[in-house]
Amino acid sequence: MVFALTRVGVVATVLAAMSLSTLVGAAEIGQIKTAKGQVTIERDGRTLSGTVGARLQSADVVKTGADSSVGITMDDDSLLSAGPGSVLSLDRYAFEPTTGQGRFDASLNKGTLAVISGRIAKGSPDAMTVRTPTAVLGVRGTEFVVSSE
């Protein structure tokens, strides 16, 4: 019973997320503003070059090599930057600029990440999370760094 209810909850959440992202379209959600060394973007099984100016989409995975780094400005003015040997996944992103409401879930699977949150985190306290393999960070409008080994 508990299990069934949880499943309903998950489905409802996913549907809500889908309708939010429909509002924004399959749009570009951010842009690479700084890049040093080897930076790649994995999208739908393809590997693209993560050069300065590259536009990002929801579900993109951004990777940096040794001695490399990348800086990203998201559509809601969140700033994410990763140091060498990082794997940063932009799992879910939806932002409605007129109302300022949205949802942003990212994961740092490996490496180091600096975050300055933007309008999504300002809109509501649970709207932005950053995951590591074992922890979930709830972002309440802030600057922080996180590493994942």
Partner: protein, 201 residues
């Protein structure tokens, strides 16, 4: 059932962490940094049902297999571990505000002069990406103000494109009367709220 499952999950993840990460050591660090504008902020670190709130500058947590453990980080430690990530941080958005003649999409004379400063900031950025946000005062309903805000933003976007900005690098949106610069009662005409914000990032 669900409590039992959670205990099992945590035990399994603990064992896995011990196997995969040398000697059950910490598998990550989180440090809250001081905020440039000084307002209160926080990050909540959760592992399973264990929760730790970081709400002071340099409040930090180590991620250990069973729970986040609190400690205080130093600026030196942050620099040593996160220097490369922090150095890669993009420039923050620069915001400009321009004002309009009542009920129209025409800039006030003073604001017309600010357009050159905006173009200079755009030219300074390696890959400029500009967001024009139209706002109105509280005269009229949401529908008409959303439309007027959009009209103001569109006219500003066209002006920037006319001055050489690539169309794909500038978007125009409206927030109508939802985000006034000066709070007023509904229906009040307020020149300081009839504006566009231009975010250059």
């Amino acid at each position: 059932m669900s409590a039992f499952a959670s205990v099992v999950r945590r035990a399994v993840s603990w064992v896995l962490s011990c196997v995969l990460v040398a000697g059950c050591a910490s598998s990550g660090t989180i440090v809250l940094l001081p905020e440039k504008d000084g307002h209160a902020t926080a990050v909540v670190v959760k592992e399973g049902d264990k929760e730790l709130v970081l709400d002071q500058p340099y409040a930090a947590a180590k991620i250990t297999p069973l729970r986040p453990s609190a400690y205080r980080a130093s600026p030196q430690e942050v620099d040593a571990q996160f220097g490369a990530a922090l150095a890669a941080q993009p420039a923050r958005a620069t915001a400009f505000t321009l004002y309009f003649v009542h009920g129209s999409d025409e800039l006030t004379d003073e604001s017309k002069q600010d357009v050159d400063r905006i173009l200079a900031e755009i030219a300074r950025r390696p890959v400029p990406d500009v967001l024009v946000v139209g706002h109105t005062d509280a005269v009229g309903n949401d529908t008409s103000n959303d439309a007027l805000g959009q009209q103001r933003a569109d006219s500003m976007r066209a002006a920037l494109i006319g001055r050489g900005l690539a169309p794909e690098n500038v978007r125009a949106i409206s927030r109508g009367k939802r985000a006034p610069a000066v709070l007023t009662s509904d229906g009040v005409a307020e020149p300081r709220n009839r504006r566009v914000e231009i975010l250059v990032r």
